[in-house]
């Protein structure tokens, strides 16, 4: 069995490619690069590949993971081969043997850039930092069974907020990856709910790093 893991980036115009479309994009790129991916058996054979912890549409990813099974052993030259046939904005960084289960990913580091068109309101960095560190920050979250209240503070491991220029705040945050996961955009929702005057006009979000439960790189 040749189980491999690709580490790739999704950036620029590619951040608008949805999870399902990204799967198709990789299938075709593998085909173009003439990589033989193992397929499932049965009437409708599908390539054996999966993308861990799908990224929300519109977010940049710098630490994305795609696991797949190859029909033959591969080496590092695959990275270059794949990048030659990728759409703009998807860049493969590394090929690894798949030796660690993705369920070991416990934390994820994100960078959020909060943009204020008419300048960052005074004291926002401090106020937002205080808010996110306090208990009892609750927002409504859609679940499989309707909506439920969701407390976000337990899902935040650490955060650091600094002002960057007069119009932007930069939030560096480590949040839980699964069971439950915290979509960092919920943090923005919480700001809108608790500090409406400090709600940003626009947010850019990038996923920087997957971490295990010891907060070491996965």
């Amino acid at each position: 069995m040749h189980k491999y893991r690709l580490i790739f980036e999704k950036k620029g115009r590619a951040i608008y490619i949805s999870h399902l479309d990204l799967m198709r994009t990789f299938q075709r790129a593998f085909q173009r690069a003439e990589v033989k991916v193992r397929h499932t058996e049965g009437f409708n054979p599908r390539p054996r590949m999966s993308i861990a912890l799908p990224l929300s549409l519109g977010m940049e990813g710098r630490c994305e993971i795609l696991d797949f099974e190859a029909a033959e052993p591969l080496d590092g030259s695959l990275v270059q081969k794949l990048n030659a046939v990728m759409p703009e904005g998807i860049v493969v960084r590394e090929l690894r043997e798949n030796t660690r289960d993705v369920s070991e990913i416990a934390w994820i580091r994100y960078n959020l850039r909060l943009v204020y068109d008419s300048g960052v309101p005074q004291g926002s960095a401090e106020a937002i930092g205080r808010l996110l560190k306090s208990d009892g920050v609750v927002i409504r979250k859609k679940t499989k069974r309707g909506e439920a209240d969701f407390s976000i503070s337990p899902c935040i491991n650490s955060l650091n907020m600094v002002q960057d220029g007069s119009n932007e705040l930069l939030l560096d945050v480590v949040v839980s990856a699964q069971n439950p996961s915290l979509n960092p955009m919920l943090i923005i929702e919480a700001i809108g709910k608790y500090l409406p005057e400090m709600a940003p006009d626009f947010v850019r979000c990038a996923r920087l790093e997957m971490l295990d439960k010891e907060l070491l790189p996965f």
């Binding site: 115009r13 990204l22 198709r24 009437f43 054979p45 759409p87 703009e88 904005g89």
Partner: protein
């Protein structure tokens, strides 16, 4: 990407349609090119990116040095709203530049219901709709595609129409525009009109009789009296897009498409494509296999579809399928064969191709009775259909889709009821020969209202009124009580508008403008189509849709497209119309050449019939 876009893309459905950046898109340095061409498709990205013609033209133009061709599609309603709200003009996907920065804006128009999108796209680009309102600072606006055979409703908005196949003609026109940069627009138009296949509507004046019919169409300033379409002379070696853009989001036909041949030998009398794409020209199986495999290698697609008007009529179909399967099967690439005829040979091919998944069967008998099928020259018999169904049922298939038209010339209630009789015969046949009765059989019947099209033998016919169409729908609906049969019918009002536009004249320009102005767009999508809007626009401009749709024309009438030709003579079309009324079938082109005139387009050649 424009910073403004970044703000709106998260708010719209399927934003990947609006970003560009796909694999194999072509980017050139705009400071280094002589001419920029915006290739516009007046429908969504998903539909446009599935269009083979667009892939061909994109490749042909970008293969010209000094020319950069980019793509533009119509945004869906949510995106349009955001663009208008945020003052983002319509832009091309490759560069993100707005349309006003281009030299030529070229629309590929395949169906009438896209006309309002053409206007809406110009409007979204902040370009005046009417040619006469566009100064020299605006791009030249051109159009081609099947609608160019009667483009008259768009005559006020488009500077130049290209008739026929664009592979050769479009580069000729683009080269002319490049050479004449700096010349004034009237000189350019006059020069363009000298190219074979170019129609410049502003060089023709149309006069009307009191009864609203056309009195005369007169060319000016040296424009030809009749513009004849262009065809590719050497189809075997003509450009084939074996390196295409691979969309990063799902489109309608998400596969490699291999074009087997152009034209059709059948001559079904209602079918515009069957007449305007003549003469028949095909590629060899050897060539096609090579092109198909290289397109699959380059794209990474997992499916290849064979494309033509009637796949079963391709002479080397078996060899081609075998050749492709040999490459495809070990790579899990599937082969699909649309447009097969209902005959044993086709079933055999299909069984060979679909070794694993059994998809449903789809037929288009078009008419229920043999009499009416003879009238329309649809040379398929009930026996063919039942035999094919028998083979399918014995092979384990349990569903059949059947397409028909209502309102065909000479249709009686008996013909309508023959549709349900055929459906019941198929149900009985299934009961006799189904492999397993578990799960039952599913027959899906669909009917559309017949739209008479220009340059066909039925171009003089009246469309039945919407009331009459709906009466026939009800008649058919009430005659079927089986749970195994489900029946869908096409919207009557859309068909009426289609009929008006397909044989319309220049006066309809005002109606189109009004419909666009009052919010009409994406009219081929039922969620956007509004008959009320069209009705109001007709009333406002004193035009009657029935005049265009429901009126029989005489042989002598000057039709709005009388000055345009697809190569098939009007005499031939009229003789076919008369044969239809006598219920006589015309043999296909391979059995006997009927001298339709299209072979004259072939310089020194004869069609592959």
């Amino acid at each position: 990407m424009q910073p403004k876009l970044e703000r709106i893309l998260p708010k719209v459905q399927k934003p990947a349609r609006y970003t560009g950046g796909e694999y194999k898109q072509i980017v050139k340095d705009k400071s280094q090119v002589d001419l920029r061409f915006a290739l516009c498709f007046p429908d969504t990205y998903e539909i446009g990116m599935s269009n083979l013609g667009l892939k061909i033209l994109y490749g042909v133009l970008n293969n010209m040095s000094g020319i950069w061709c980019e793509r533009v599609f119509a945004p869906w309603g949510d995106m349009e709203e955001e663009m208008r709200k945020n003052s983002i003009p319509l832009y091309a996907l490759e560069s993100g530049d707005e349309l006003r920065e281009f030299d030529i804006i070229g629309f590929s128009i395949g169906y009438e219901m896209a006309y309002t999108n053409v206007l809406n796209m110009l409007d979204l680009a902040n370009i005046p709709l009417r040619s006469e309102e566009r100064g020299e600072e605006f791009p030249l606006v051109i159009a081609g595609g099947t609608c160019a055979y009667n483009p008259e409703p768009l005559a006020d908005f488009i500077d130049i129409f290209l008739l026929g196949e664009g592979e050769d003609l479009l580069p000729e026109l683009v080269s002319l525009v490049r050479e004449m940069k700096g010349a004034d627009r009237p000189s350019l138009l006059r020069a363009a009109a000298k190219l074979e296949g170019v129609y410049v509507p502003s060089l023709y004046s149309v006069e009307y009789n009191k009864d609203g019919t056309i009195k005369s169409i007169v060319p000016h300033e040296g424009a030809p009296a009749v513009v004849t379409k262009r065809i590719v002379q050497d189809f075997e070696n003509s450009y084939f897009p074996s390196e295409t853009i691979v969309p990063s989001t799902e489109i309608v036909h998400d596969r490699t498409v291999l074009e087997l041949f152009r034209g059709c030998i059948r001559g079904c009398r209602f079918c515009q494509a069957g007449f305007v794409y003549r003469p028949v020209r095909s590629r060899s199986a050897e060539k096609l296999k090579e092109l198909g495999i290289s397109a699959l290698r380059n794209s990474g697609y997992q499916e290849i579809g064979l494309s033509s008007l009637s796949t079963s009529d391709y002479r080397e179909l078996k060899e081609l399928c075998d050749g492709l399967l040999e490459w495809c099967e070990p790579r899990n690439v599937s082969l699909s064969l649309p447009s097969l005829r209902a005959d044993n040979f086709s079933m055999e091919i299909m069984e060979r191709v679909q070794k694993v998944r059994k998809s449903g069967l789809t037929f288009a008998p078009e008419a229920g009775s043999q009499r009416l099928r003879d009238v329309i020259n649809k040379n398929v018999t009930e026996e063919d259909i039942l035999n094919t169904c028998r083979t399918a049922f014995e092979g384990g298939r349990n569903s059949v889709k059947l397409y028909f038209m209502l309102g065909l010339p000479t249709e009686t209630d008996e013909d309508v009821l023959a549709i349900s009789e055929l459906a019941y015969k198929i149900v009985r046949l299934w009961k006799e020969c189904a492999k397993s009765r578990a799960g039952g059989v599913h027959i899906t019947l669909s009917t559309a209202c017949f739209v008479p099209k220009p340059m066909t033998p039925f171009q003089w016919e009246a469309q039945v009124t919407t009331e009459e169409y709906l009466r026939r729908v009800k008649l058919l609906c009430d005659s079927m009580r089986s749970k195994a049969i489900s029946y869908n019918w096409h919207d009557a009002e859309t068909s009426l508008i289609e009929a008006v536009l397909s044989r319309g004249d220049r006066r309809l320009g005002k109606v189109l403008e009004e419909v666009q102005r009052t919010g009409g767009r994406m009219e081929s999508w039922s969620e956007y189509f509004s008959f009320e809007r069209w009705k109001a626009a007709f009333e406002k401009h004193g035009l009657d849709p029935a005049f265009y749709a429901n009126r029989v024309r005489s042989r002598e009438e000057v039709l709005p497209w009388s000055h345009l030709s697809a190569g098939v003579s009007e005499d031939f079309l009229w003789s076919e119309r008369e044969a239809a009324y006598r219920g006589e079938i015309t043999p296909d082109c391979r059995v006997q050449c009927m001298g339709c005139g299209a072979s004259l387009l072939y310089k020194g050649g004869c069609c592959d019939a």
